[in-house]
Symmetry: C2
Subunit: 267 residues, 2 copies
């Protein structure tokens, strides 16, 4: 699917309007006492009122501005459309961080044109930072400041800073594969949820490796990282926009090196 | 040592002036390219120009405002004093977060009156949040907003949110003891450095457990947490202001429960 410059800007504007709407809702709930539901019977997957209201706020923007587009949201599922475009929404990525008061959660918005996101947003309302990438470029914005961001070069894993959210990663095999990469990196940091992809897009870190993700966890980040010049695939080097195992790299060279390590025998 | 209300306020003002000075320096360096030295030959303990300049900026405030107090800073060591008070400074706690662009690092200031901090600050310059605690109270401040903060009640570990910075904690035995507590908690989160103590002081989380710390890593956080009504000791329930193994809790009940688990046989 091709987009004119005018169409690209219109889509960016809608995405930012959605992020703004979700920001207002989430900030009203962040660090306040609130009812925390339990999605899973045996597990801990909190869903808050903020989650639901923020998705509703984004859907309201789409109903008005892009009624023909499809929607896939974490909270309210799929809504069909006719344009061939799907907005993929995670109103609060990192609900565990959210309920802990830690500002590493984010509002994620991806615009899937059929083969993955052409546009993505990672918004961190409390810090007040927005990362928006797509159509070959990416921006960072805070208050009235806005500037272009780009990934940084990193030629070898031994110089790379790696991030992931959960030290357990996923299955035992996934953890072993991750640790094999981690062992070759300069530094590994944990716990930043979607904010890690934003740091990658701004050239502050070099790798993000995660597993067990859903489409709505990754489409926003993929849009931002690709817009900033980075590479995102699954652990087999295939498209990652449907979720699962993800590896995002600022430099294609360490993407290739890390893929190789992930797929070695880890004995 | 006793302090009048006037003396308490004067000390708070000096501490905030120091935090302000360090904030200006650290923000000038955060997320810019900078020379990163290597303190340890075989390890990764980056010291940046920001670290050194920020401590110098805080020392300059003390030279002018509190010339008789002693100083113990991470970067420039000990300076003797005659007042019986020692300012314990970590210009950038969480240098690994700092060089990764993650806003979980902080400027730490503790005022030790001989038996640990009577006043402490955790300042996060990029988010723009300051946590200051001492003399029986604690405040949070951001931009022009300032409000009192307090720890929250939590009667049992099964309802507690636990944080620590590094999943490896310290030695194998320390990690096993930590994991025994983690297994009983509702949720464990990693990676937030000193910011975890600030979240505890504001009643967002319930426990922070770490090991291998230095006096300058803990005196600021202890002042904040105690000021907000929390409890901080080492893993033996003894004073923690000289560093080592630390457990900070918002509620004395889970502090006692967690100590018990830490000191079980972990087989």
């Amino acid at each position: 699917m091709q987009f004119s410059k005018t169409e690209q800007q219109a889509l960016r504007d809608v995405a930012e309007e959605m992020a703004e709407a979700a920001r207002a809702v989430t900030l009203r709930y962040f660090r306040t006492d609130m009812a925390v539901d339990n999605k899973e019977a045996d597990g801990f997957d909190p869903v808050t009122a903020a989650d639901r209201e923020a998705e509703q706020a984004m859907r309201a923007v789409l109903a008005k501005r892009r009624p023909d587009d499809a929607i896939f949201g974490e909270e309210f599922g799929k809504t069909a459309g006719t344009s061939g475009l799907t907005w993929v929404l995670d109103p609060i990525d990192g609900t565990r961080a959210f309920i802990s008061g830690a500002p590493s959660w984010g509002v994620l918005i991806g615009l899937d044109a059929g083969q993955g996101p052409v546009l993505g947003i990672v918004d961190q309302p409390y810090i007040g930072e927005r990362f928006i990438g797509g159509f070959g470029k990416a921006d960072w914005a805070r208050n009235d400041v806005r500037k272009e961001i780009n990934v940084r070069a990193c030629s070898g894993l031994e110089n790379a800073i790696l991030m992931t959210t959960f030290p357990e990663i996923g299955t035992r095999a996934e953890r072993d594969a991750f640790m094999a990469v981690s062992d070759t990196c300069k530094l590994t940091r944990y716990g930043l949820d979607c904010y890690a992809y934003a740091l990658l897009a701004m050239g502050q870190i070099d790798l993000v490796i995660e597993a067990g993700l859903n489409a709505y966890d990754v489409q926003g980040p993929i849009g931002v990282v690709q817009g900033a010049g980075g590479v995102v695939t699954n652990w087999q080097g295939k498209p990652a926009h449907n979720g699962g195992q993800i590896i995002a790299a600022g430099d294609a060279r360490i993407h290739a090196q890390a893929l190789k390590v992930l797929n070695q025998d880890h004995l």
